[in-house]
Symmetry: D3
Subunit: 240 residues, 6 copies
Amino acid sequence: MRHSGRAANELRPITLETDVNRYAEGSCLAKFGNTHVLCTATIEESVPGWMKGSGRGWITAEYGMLPRSTQSRMGREAARGKQSGRTQEIQRLIGRSLRAVIDLQGFGERQIRIDCDVLQADGGTRTAAITGSYVALYQAFQLMQEMKAIETIPFVRQVAAISCGIHKGQAIIDLDYEEDSAAETDANFVLTDDGQVVEVQATAEEKPFSRVEFDALMDLAIQGVSELAIAQRNALGLED
Amino acid sequence: MRHSGRAANELRPITLETDVNRYAEGSCLAKFGNTHVLCTATIEESVPGWMKGSGRGWITAEYGMLPRSTQSRMGREAARGKQSGRTQEIQRLIGRSLRAVIDLQGFGERQIRIDCDVLQADGGTRTAAITGSYVALYQAFQLMQEMKAIETIPFVRQVAAISCGIHKGQAIIDLDYEEDSAAETDANFVLTDDGQVVEVQATAEEKPFSRVEFDALMDLAIQGVSELAIAQRNALGLED
Amino acid sequence: MRHSGRAANELRPITLETDVNRYAEGSCLAKFGNTHVLCTATIEESVPGWMKGSGRGWITAEYGMLPRSTQSRMGREAARGKQSGRTQEIQRLIGRSLRAVIDLQGFGERQIRIDCDVLQADGGTRTAAITGSYVALYQAFQLMQEMKAIETIPFVRQVAAISCGIHKGQAIIDLDYEEDSAAETDANFVLTDDGQVVEVQATAEEKPFSRVEFDALMDLAIQGVSELAIAQRNALGLED
Amino acid sequence: MRHSGRAANELRPITLETDVNRYAEGSCLAKFGNTHVLCTATIEESVPGWMKGSGRGWITAEYGMLPRSTQSRMGREAARGKQSGRTQEIQRLIGRSLRAVIDLQGFGERQIRIDCDVLQADGGTRTAAITGSYVALYQAFQLMQEMKAIETIPFVRQVAAISCGIHKGQAIIDLDYEEDSAAETDANFVLTDDGQVVEVQATAEEKPFSRVEFDALMDLAIQGVSELAIAQRNALGLED
Amino acid sequence: MRHSGRAANELRPITLETDVNRYAEGSCLAKFGNTHVLCTATIEESVPGWMKGSGRGWITAEYGMLPRSTQSRMGREAARGKQSGRTQEIQRLIGRSLRAVIDLQGFGERQIRIDCDVLQADGGTRTAAITGSYVALYQAFQLMQEMKAIETIPFVRQVAAISCGIHKGQAIIDLDYEEDSAAETDANFVLTDDGQVVEVQATAEEKPFSRVEFDALMDLAIQGVSELAIAQRNALGLED
Amino acid sequence: MRHSGRAANELRPITLETDVNRYAEGSCLAKFGNTHVLCTATIEESVPGWMKGSGRGWITAEYGMLPRSTQSRMGREAARGKQSGRTQEIQRLIGRSLRAVIDLQGFGERQIRIDCDVLQADGGTRTAAITGSYVALYQAFQLMQEMKAIETIPFVRQVAAISCGIHKGQAIIDLDYEEDSAAETDANFVLTDDGQVVEVQATAEEKPFSRVEFDALMDLAIQGVSELAIAQRNALGLED
């Protein structure tokens, strides 16, 4: 039994609220239980120098945590003068995950910047960030479509992410902070709605784990992401 | 007539929502119209080295803007590796304003950190930050009182802040971004609920202004802050 | 009685020595008693990128203190690798104060850099810096006039600055370090020679102060700045 | 057919040369074909502050590339003033991978620093770094054993790493730079000698991949790591 | 003939003015013609951590140039966020030069910080800095002697510095900026008053030079430093 | 007698191994005994902005030490976020030394970057770096000649470097770390093969030294460099 009463394969309550920022071209407040991540998409009418003339666009992401998004206050990265290795890892992951399911030639030489800011953290911030960013980015593409800047939404597939782990010997999904801290194994899966793999990161926290255990985690993740994908389509008002 | 239809002496809709963060010892989401600032208070059980043994506590503040809190996206300070001069000015102002109305000997050798993060900016972010920080900090003191760490709330006075400016020749209060950008004069007043001065910063944007004009701004500010002070007490459930 | 024997409304001995640097287009060593600030003006034949094609010029300022300009040695900002918040506040203030009294269209697309370096500090370094910078900048404009680069000096008004404060319950002008450290209230006034306001910054150091006290400070400042304005004209050899 | 003539499941020539640094407590020059990584282990007689008194030791790793280790020269990170996100990701990975197979209570309150410096890069630098670091660290433990600082080598398992990928539709192992640049999928496996998982990182470079493909990569990796494990034992002169 | 009319072995007018800073324990404004360097000595009652308990003191130096000390304005190092390689070279040289002629056990576990700030630069700033620092430091020792903190001045020898160079085929001393820019060879000599060598740095600017030329430069330097040594003793009021 | 058994004027075993990097346009692993420095030359088809249109090329150098190249591990400069003053001094020295013996108009508007990375340090790393860089750079020029980019090698002279010092009262050459740490005087000579001076840096470590001693050091250096010059020609396969 999980401390929250959830079943092993049960996600926390998920909400993906759109239109939460009056300026951004797309925005989504992704809540996975007490983890709240504000995602915005900003369209820029030019690409980085090394891409000019390529006919392709680019998606990039930045990630940050408010200092008191966590149980103990974290130092503010802007004040310390640099982003931690963890922050950089996560923002690189978000950008890669989105780019892998987009036709980069489908929206011109534009750059879209995703900002994921964690207002409150209770485990799984990177997975909530990816899941919410998909929604914010989709909205930005819809806006471009309305403005006749593009004809079709360049997403080739739908993408979302979820964490899984081995906790007290049991494979569970969508770990909260308390579970995450105590897990023997921690894995993040970025998958498409039909269970294809975009990115897998699995880490033995204390001791190596078996391939059988790994497979159990992936089973959970495939099911969880298919649920997240429905929530994304609902948030965007897309027919299922 | 102001573009929003407001009277010269009319504040935007003000809301001060408390308990918006499940970890912080105090928290307040201050909204001045479309300007939204999330304020949290974090209690630390020690003071900076130079204060040890003084028997006094300390209040310090940090300020940040989410990159897409503004109409055009701003670079993320954590990514650029430093806080701008404007950011530093504002966070120093917030800390000074709070310390000026607190008995620093009244809460032991503790440091309380205020974080003010702008989720959405439409002018007046520093005044919303100060007004909301008062509430978040008050809550932190209430918590300390409940925990028997202090006997009385060490606030000596109540403090809030509001901007005023000369716009098209007229003195107006609580400027939004559009007004602020076009104002001839820009002033921020940090005042007590009974109209005492904590901090005044007035700047001629294009040309110097007269003492008579300055006095008109201060008249507006005193009235506006008394309204904000009521909102603060309501938010805190204090009897008036 | 002030510890220096000065009357409440009495400035320290003021000297504004020009031509103190053989390379700069304008230079002034401003002394307010033991506070000595070296101000230079450097003309650059281009403006920052965002102003190109605007037909306007720009004035910017930088401020620094020699490490041993103060009673206790301060760390060198170049060695620490960043400018303090205080330094940035002051240099932004100097630039704004000068720009507010200049016709930016009156000297072409040029940038003039003001450098204010404190050789010795005994309170009031920012006010000495503004007062001296006016002189250095005026000289730079005179040089441009001689070179036929401009026809008229683009200063619309004359500007100077002075500090005032409440010390032992009394409003006094031009505080030295000892007075400044003990003052209950500290205010800096940047004014024109005829008493118009360019910038006001007033701060309650320990407890809020009344509007009556604030008005007394401004009365002192208007008188003091009119004296500084005469010293500026004398230094520049301008007829009164 | 691979451009090098290798079979899909064939590693490049692997050499793990020890005693390549006269000062380090352990050292190994790991060569995976033209990828050459110099790994050293440095024992420090204290742990980071947050671990003091815990009775446990710590392993940390740093990673760097010589500027001309690559085909086109890369900027020197020391000159640019910061480590890239990629560098930080890799050095965090190396540290985690080693710690996962070590009994941290088995070598006292000491910190061992692993340095992995890439002399020449032709794909797979992080996997060579992990594989070589195991050897260097093992030597450091052997030295501690000789010095009677520890009784037994605290490695619980043996660890090595290898990259696999889908290239032209085929699952292959130990990609060189040319293959890596063109791969559709890129995965790094950190495994124990008996095929347990320490860390998996799989990334779809251009389009998502199937679970079947993922499984093929893991099959290759398990075989490859078992070969690397033999090379490690040989390098260390351990009986098989 | 030199453009200034000076003879090949003729120094510029040298003045070493003391007591130019009201706070420092020692101060000297060293002028070598139009090169003006302000040197201060600050006594600190502790040494860096690595020297604690050694019974020895330490001398360290910092060097900086005001932005408009030069013909074209230089960027401010504090604003750029780092000291240039040249700055670091020079401040290391100043510290080494002074330490080489001092008995570090002769003034207790104290650190004396030398600050050399160039107010105006016309070649030879590092040699003026060393020459003036000797005077400022001597004064600081005199003050310690007066305060009974030390019995004797711990200078073992007197030290000063001068530049020499080959210019239009001729060996000359104390080059100004114009000569320095055109010199074929540039050398800085830090010597004792009796011609012993503390530090020599000689650089071929365009093409290598002969040992005979080098010897001619050293001949000039020995004579020049003996003149500077007299100026130092005069500035300090020491009998010759 | 030196601790290594070497005669006062005897170099350590010198090897200059070429073609040690498969990507660089020139490379040399310079070994002076246990000091091992990897030198590479990278040709870039453009010069820094300030040289464009000058018709001249440029040589620049960077220097670094692997963290465990030394007896005690040094902090990694990339991790600390800046290069030390010592590093900057050395890389500036290497660049100047090479440029002084090259016709900068002889290889077009190209920049050649020299990287000197110390794999193992036992005294004299900068002299090994200069000596090896000459070889790597020569190879790069040879490559340009083969590619018909230049007609003749633009080296005007041959350059190498060696350290000398006074140790236990005796002038010795090519000090190892143990000797260097105990030397009373430390000097580095960058000379041409026929004994012309490119750069001399001599430093009294503890007390000033005499001109006679200095001359003895230079005598040793001239002999030593002539031996290094032969080794360079041999490494390059040039007829003597």
